[in-house]
Amino acid sequence: MNTSEARYGGGVTLLLFVFIFLPLLAVLINFIFPGLFFGQIESSSLGLIGDIMNRPLWKQSLLNSVTLSLGTATIGTIIGGVLATIRARWDFAAAKLLDMTAWVLLIAPSFMIAQGWVLFAGSDGLAHQWLGLTWVTSFIFQPVGLMFVMSLSKFPLAYLAIMAASEWNIRQFGNAARLNGARPFTVWRTVELPLALPSYVAGWTLVFMDTIGDFGLPAALATVYKFPTLTYSIYSAIYQSPVRFDMAGVLAFYLVLILALAMTLLMVTLRKSRFDFLNARAVQMEKVRPRKAWLYNLSITIFLFVSLGIPIGTSAAVSFLKQAGGGIHLDNLTLDHYRELFAGQAGDHRLLGYLEGMYHSLVIAAAAALFSMLIGFVVAYMLTFTESRLRPLLQLFSIISLAVPGVVLGIGYIFIWNQKWLEPLGLHLYGTPSLLVIAGIAGAIPYAVRVQLGAFGNMSGTMLKAAAIQGAGVFERMRDIVLPIARQSLLIATLASFGTSVFDLALASMLKPANYSLMPLVIDRAFEFSRYGYATAATVVSCGTVVLIIILLQAAGRTWFRWLDRNKW
């Protein structure tokens, strides 16, 4: 192996280790030696581990998390499966709309969606006060109702996973079975189900993992309905009294354990059901125009209206209302919340400064996106074009933070970066914005690496070898060959990282410096103090701004690349 490649490889491996693996390791170490990070070494007391079963709060959190995630995964997979099947088989106008909504829901921060639902279904919410639908409140604020709400926002994970698999027509196998005398049910049981199963299991697991790590829903619910989940109890073990750092670590450990189990299930299913059905005779599913296309269009549109329209629409509507429960009539309409947003310092602890928060969040997300893209570029390069011994480690580190929830990473960061001995080194990062940047990088790395791996996958290594023989160093090879080819996906990866980290409520809540305003915290704080107008106006402006920035940067990037091409760069 080339030594300069080894240097790059060692460098990024170490960075990923420190940014991603070390915090997770800290959580695991805390499980064995609680108190280690607070300057006292105690051997693991099994009592602490068993405490989760003794203390009703923690037991209930575990139970709530597991039931919510199981329910959501199941309902979400059913919704995703039905939609994907319809989408793959039929050709109808609303299909495009469905894809778009799925992506919007996938990217939208879950706390915003959940807040929209709380505003809609709460006892002084839209459904109750305007539409007189009193049953909505009692339906939503109970475990099954929450599963329903979560499924409506998490189904896209299952939808996309199943869609990818149902694009191919596998009727030939079924026909062969039928020719050999199998009944339709036998065909479904022995051919269609085993072939489709992996994508369903993958979809189910993805929804399960995303739901169990979710922080947005319990955070949005906190003021109206008591539904402690593992993620929220981790947060409250750190930010509420009495403080239990050790226990937060233990709860985080349980969360990681459940996630690991889910991952194992996914791996086993994928391995067990390896059929290479995509052979030379594979044909893409031909979409047929259904006889009653209007029926499909109508029902899909209604569904999308419920899943996206209700939460987003409610938030948008509330932002223009003087009194959230006052109804839509001219006297109740106002732009005051928006004015307040831009009025600068409110002098009110309930309303964090919005412009400052937006500035901080944008800068932190931009820094996180840039660094994660750079690191991701080197990681993807190492994984694709080298034989480095560090590759398995890089693989592992670059995927972990996809599965590990922000709250767990957050507690890990507190363990690591709140050590007293770091102070003289200037590395006491807890309570400083730099930790938010690092956390942002950790969160964005999996996306940055995956997108770039995809782009590099199409590239032949021969060009690089040829360049190396001509004497080009690893940096030149990256700059002159890989970068120009992969730049479009690099840009998209950067923008995607930016878009996700700018709204990360979990990490912002866990790692916030004192008196430091951040966009998701502005929204959350105003929501907590029932300043719904301010919260929703901030939501609307934030989403608009971020979408606008992404569109502009993308357009600018395209123009720039074209200019580079014209000028023979």
Binding site: Y239, S241, H349, V363, G431, P433
Partner: protein, 374 residues
């Protein structure tokens, strides 16, 4: 170069990159990693600005004055107190708003590296607890301590770990008049706990005055009896909201009919013309003693002490009771300061001793959080 040196180089570059990254990040965001005198940010309830640089004479005259900005963690008055204090004394102070539970948690988290200098919050029990665990500066007697009323003096601890500022009702009985008639409304705490209908109050894990509320009942009735009473109450319908704001909202929306509501919130609703009536029970309202304390590791002892002196001045207390905000509802503990006239003038308080409230804090809060999810 062999592989071993290659690896060493790799590590070296990675470490350098990391250092660079961290320092770069800290700079990007306009806030240095280690706090210096001046901070950015309009959320601060006032830093720099009004006061500018500290008075030269003050800095020169006092060896304890390091010139650094001090941080106040607090729940009430945070929006007003910083600019007023800076204007009067020239010291720089930044007030950070936390709920009581949040402030305690933050202080706990910063154990290794305290970022706060002064803490002002409801609940002498929690403060006693911090004092016993060596978090607070002790044995310094403020000059203005003599300004305290007799009642105020009775709450000053022997080790001077904290100083009482005011007392208010952590909970009075508030009921929604559209749902409850005045005959049916509970007038004692016993009736409140026996009330046939949904009632609510704030969460002691989050809201500062909620622990004084709960601990007063626990002390009054004894832990075991109080636990039983609460268990019964949970069965009959007891809604616990994180803070008093949401409790008031739930009372208005009819989700609960009666609440043990902090007095500011109760009077705020009543004065705003909402259908809320307030009852100050004859046996007393659970008292929330607001105290101020200095961190043992304060970066600027002169400024922190000046803040305590400032809080014990009659002018300051009068300014606070005259505020056009519901924060002004409290009984000032400095002699000769008048309280808001809208309050119950002779309301009695139930107040457990600091020692008792401190010793039972973790036990009661933990028990309560566990009951709350059943």
């Amino acid at each position: 170069m062999n592989k071993k040196t290659g690896f060493k180089h790799g590590i070296f570059i990675a470490l350098t990159a990391l250092m660079w990254l961290l320092s770069a990040c800290a700079q990007t965001d306009g806030q240095p990693t280690v706090r210096s005198g001046e901070t950015t940010g309009p959320t601060a309830s006032g830093s720099g600005g009004a006061a500018g640089q500290p008075d030269i004479t003050l800095t020169n005259g006092n060896p304890e004055d390091t010139g650094e900005t001090i941080y106040l963690y607090g729940n009430d008055f945070v929006d007003y107190i910083a600019p007023k204090f800076m204007e009067e004394t020239g010291f720089k102070l930044e007030a950070v708003h936390y709920g009581g539970g949040e402030a305690l948690a933050k202080i706990e988290a910063e154990q290794g590296n305290p970022q706060w200098d002064v803490l002002m919050m409801d609940g002498h029990g929690s403060m006693r607890n911090l004092g016993d665990r060596d978090f607070l500066m002790t044995d310094w007697e403020p000059d203005n301590l003599g300004n305290l009323s007799e009642n105020g003096k009775s709450h000053v601890p022997e080790d001077f770990a904290y100083f009482p500022v005011g007392i208010h009702a952590a909970g009075v009985i508030a009921y929604n008049t559209t749902l409850v008639t005045s005959e049916k409304a509970p007038t004692t705490w016993e009736q409140f706990f026996a009330y046939d209908g949904p009632v609510g109050h704030a969460d002691p894990a989050v809201a500062a005055p909620a622990y004084p509320l709960v601990s007063a009942f626990f002390e009054q009735w004894g832990v075991e009896a109080a636990e039983q009473t609460y268990e019964q109450r949970f069965k009959k319908g007891l809604h616990v909201y994180p803070k008093n704001g949401p409790v008031g909202k739930a009372l208005l929306s009819g989700e609960i009919e009666v609440a043990a509501l902090q007095e500011h919130n109760a009077y705020e609703l009543k004065l705003a013309g909402e259908p809320i009536e307030v009852i100050w029970p004859r046996e007393g309202a659970p008292g929330s003693l607001r105290v101020v304390a200095i961190s043992k590791h304060t970066k600027n002892p002169a400024a922190a002490k000046a803040f305590v002196e400032y809080m014990l001045k009659p002018e300051t207390q009068q300014m606070l009771t005259n505020l056009d905000s519901t924060d002004s509802f409290f009984t000032p503990l400095v002699e000769g300061v008048s309280a808001r006239s809208e309050r119950e003038p002779n309301g009695a308080f139930m107040l457990p001793s600091a020692k008792w409230a401190s010793e039972h804090e973790v036990e009661i809060k933990t028990w309560f959080a566990d009951q709350n999810v059943r």
